[in-house]
Symmetry: C2
Subunit: 154 residues, 2 copies
DNA sequence: TTTGAAATCAGTAGCAT
DNA sequence: ATGCTACTGATTTCAAA
């Protein structure tokens, strides 16, 4: 997109895996000065390539023992925006996509247990006007969880 | 799980959204000293509540214009581990879950364009022994992308 | 893009609650 | 057991080249 070179990619590769690494270490690994890293990172933020940072929290530690994907079918696709507005109010929904395929939309939902999940499905999601059906895909085991790959060439 | 109190939650709430915020600011917001934050964060790391950190990169900036979920049906559920091992080698696959519902497993895949996606599906994923069918749910728009909610009580 | 100085911040230890 | 103060060294920021 906007002239991202190999140094940028190398920096992204490192800091996307560890947000707290001192920039001088990044600099050493990349073979440039510390200031170069600062300037590049700032530029990547300004360009919108970097959209934030955060510590990763283990869901189980917070009592979220159930991770599920919920496919939602809508009466009409055009109701999508209104439904999303409602879904925004449910904190347990961490992702929502408008999708091709068997569902109108696909959401990712964390719940504490089956009872909590049941409550979210029956009393929250299925109550939203326009939602005609939901299908629940419970994740019994998450086997892969990576960051997006930083491509070597562009 | 292991005695996470409200101060812990307040800290997690802040640093899960911003890994680079100075701990002195976290301390100010929580109304405790910096050292307390250090101790708490270190403890949360030791307990496995915090599992890492990272900068968030905008997929589009790296040329990934297509985000998809791919449901995979296996000949036998018991082949799951072997299939996961193969999927590990495909960098574009960033998530993989063993699921209840219509598929044996659900994966999240980033691709540059439809041609790239086609290649991943036909030449990589469907070639894996045990995979009998795939169904592709292309995300036309991602409307919600949050961190996991930090529960107020627990 | 680099360097170096000034300002800010992190991490530690010992004390107090 | 947890938080606080104070200290030391590391890191970030910002100048000029």
């Amino acid at each position: 997109m906007e002239k991202i070179d190999n140094l940028d990619r190398q920096i992204l590769e490192i800091i996307s895996q560890n947000a707290r690494i001192p920039f001088k270490d990044v600099a050493a690994e990349c073979g440039v000065s510390r200031a170069a890293i600062h300037q590049r990172v700032q530029r990547l933020i300004d360009l919108g390539v970097i959209v934030g940072s955060g510590y990763h929290v283990n869901p189980k530690s917070l009592g979220y023992r159930t991770c599920t994907y919920v496919g939602i079918k809508l009466e009409k696709g055009s109701m999508y925006k209104a439904v999303v507005a409602e879904l925004q109010n449910i904190p347990e929904i961490v992702e929502c996509h408008f999708t091709t395929g068997p569902y109108t939309m696909l959401t990712k939902v964390y719940a504490c247990d089956n009872e909590h999940l049941m409550d979210l499905l029956n009393n929250r999601m299925q109550e939203i006007p326009g939602v005609v059906a939901t299908e629940t895909l419970i994740s019994l085991e998450q086997s892969i969880k990576k960051e997006i790959p930083i491509r070597a060439d562009k």
